[in-house]
């Protein structure tokens, strides 16, 4: 009994021949593999919410491998934003300098409640793989085969545990639950009907999705870090953020976001806000401790070099966008909360002292 696994290749944004080459090498190799369905989509981040790309992803109900030129976290939470959810599949493809422990410890070694704790996640697994780690297709092919094998084995074991011999249809239904209660429950998810599918065993053609429309720019929230503190909604003056029916923060109007501006990401106390295409790895969703894969020449090409805090940089970036939009700059005066004690690792600065001084005045 062969169980199929879907592989989605998200193309790079740029006209980089090396990237296109790697994508196509992987696709070509996977066509030969039984049990693997390949879909090629434009860059995941740029997909329109109602476009054919998201529709295709939404149609995949079983285990899913998503290969993209994005950090694992970035890809995962872009999918989440589009209601494509599942358990975290652990991939062995990691950047060399990425410590294995980063994934485990993360920012979650405290007892703070995270938004994800209140969510029900479907049982299927989603593996997000960063195409920037290796230059050649082979390591990716090997990993996809390993994951496919892993999922086949899991299935057999569970079948044994259930006792008796399950019919293929039952196994299929087990792997891809059709009960809609497995979805939703987070308050902002649209519930979609799930169709029973019986797929043929023979290899299928690669599905290629194309979408028109340019690059998008919007924040992506990592709900495994987000504590729903609302600092971002207070800070952003462009109406990007909103709350859902159960008062959970969400990116409500992504296209209100100002292209190139990552300011809200800098004020997020939990580093939960990503701009997956930002050149700074920490903002793009890199794991803690992972440096950029390319040299950043911005300082040499005229970026302001200064010792500003993240909040100060964020306020400047926001002011720049406000002025560009024909509005008045507000500096640090609006939407930046006083940092709470014990919350920040950074040494106190003059601003902290100033604000604390104000608090002590009994007015």
């Amino acid at each position: 009994m062969a169980k199929r696994i879907a592989v989605v290749v998200s193309q790079g944004q740029s006209q980089n021949p090396a990237k296109r080459g790697l994508e196509e090498d992987i696709v070509a190799a996977l066509i030969m593999e039984p049990g693997i369905d390949v879909t090629v989509i434009p860059n995941l981040y740029d997909l329109k919410p109602d476009g054919t790309g998201i529709l295709a992803l939404d149609g995949i109900k079983g285990n899913l491998i998503v290969m993209s030129w994005l950090y694992e976290r970035g890809a995962r939470w872009i999918l989440d934003r589009n209601n494509i959810r599942g358990q975290v599949g652990q991939t062995l493809i990691k950047a060399d300098d990425q410590d294995e422990e980063d994934d485990e410890t993360d920012a979650r070694d405290d007892d703070k409640e995270r938004v994800i704790d209140q969510r029900q996640i479907p049982s299927r697994r989603i593996y997000c793989i960063d195409l920037r780690v290796h230059d050649t297709a082979q390591p990716y092919i090997d990993e996809i085969k390993r994951i496919a094998e892993e999922n086949t084995q899991k299935l057999v074991q569970l079948g044994d545990w259930l006792q008796g011999t399950a019919k293929p249809e039952q196994l299929e239904r087990f792997a891809t639950p059709t009960n809609t209660t497995a979805l939703g429950g987070n308050g902002n998810g649209k519930r979609r009907p799930v169709e029973e599918t019986s797929e043929p065993i023979q290899p299928k053609d690669v599905i290629r999705i194309e979408e028109t429309g340019g690059r998008r720019w919007y924040p992506v929230i990592d709900y495994s870090r987000c504590t729903n503190c609302m600092e971002c909604i207070d800070f952003c003056l462009f109406g990007v953020y909103g709350v859902d029916r159960v008062e959970t923060i969400l990116v409500e109007q992504p296209d209100n976001c100002r292209k190139g501006c990552p300011a809200c990401s800098r004020v997020c106390p939990e580093n939960a806000i990503m701009f997956p295409q930002h050149k700074t790895p920490a903002i793009a969703g890199a794991p803690v401790g992972l440096v950029g894969l390319k040299i950043d020449l911005s300082k040499l090409f005229g970026a302001p070099d200064d010792g500003k805090t993240a909040e100060e940089i964020a306020a400047l970036e926001r002011d720049e966008q406000l002025v560009l939009a024909g509005r008045d700059a507000v500096g640090m005066a609006v939407g930046i909360r006083k940092r709470q004690e014990g919350k920040s690792d950074e040494p106190r600065d003059e601003l902290d002292d100033l604000i604390d001084g104000l608090d002590e005045l009994d007015l």
Binding site: Q13, N16, K279, V291, D296, L297, L300, F301, P304, L324
Partner: protein, 154 residues
């Protein structure tokens, strides 16, 4: 029309050439001033050498925008590096080189002409003469090397 004179700066073994018929900005762009007050900008040989093969260019501003000096304009990605791009002078952004969006490799093959980036209308008083730019390079070359090595060693 006679060929302009060339100044060179040695980036290690690599001789970067700079035509003397134009101005230069500290962020490693050349600027060719026209009589109508518009200045055309492109990357210098120094910048292109650091970037190497350019794969992608993106603008975050639109034509007609009033730019401040050092305002962020967009981003560039090459084989080896990526960088935000900043305005070399204050003024009105007249035109972006649209051809580069589909084929940015012109930046590599024809940096001082067809690989131009954008036109800005303004006085450009802050721009450097070719000699001043060479002096600027002498001053920043060490920092440039440290920046690159520092990131590679991390």
């Amino acid at each position: 029309m006679k060929e302009p004179d060339i100044l060179t700066f040695m980036m290690g073994e690599f001789a970067a050439s700079f035509p003397t018929d134009r101005h230069y900005a500290k962020n490693h762009m050349w600027g060719m001033k026209r009589d109508d007050g518009v200045c055309r900008f492109g990357f210098t040989a120094y910048a292109v050498r650091l970037l190497q093969d350019v794969y992608f260019l993106e603008w975050a501003v639109e034509e007609g925008t009033l730019l401040k000096e050092k305002q962020e304009l967009g981003a560039i990605e090459s084989k080896k590096a990526e960088s935000a791009l900043y305005s070399p002078m204050a003024g009105r952004l007249v035109q972006l080189n649209e051809a580069l969006l589909s084929d940015p490799s012109t930046i590599n093959v024809d940096k001082y002409d067809g690989g131009w980036l954008f036109d800005i209308e303004g006085n450009g008083d802050n721009l450097l003469s070719p000699d001043e730019y060479i002096h600027h390079l002498e001053a920043v070359w060490d920092v440039t090397q440290r920046t690159i090595k520092g990131q590679l060693n991390e």
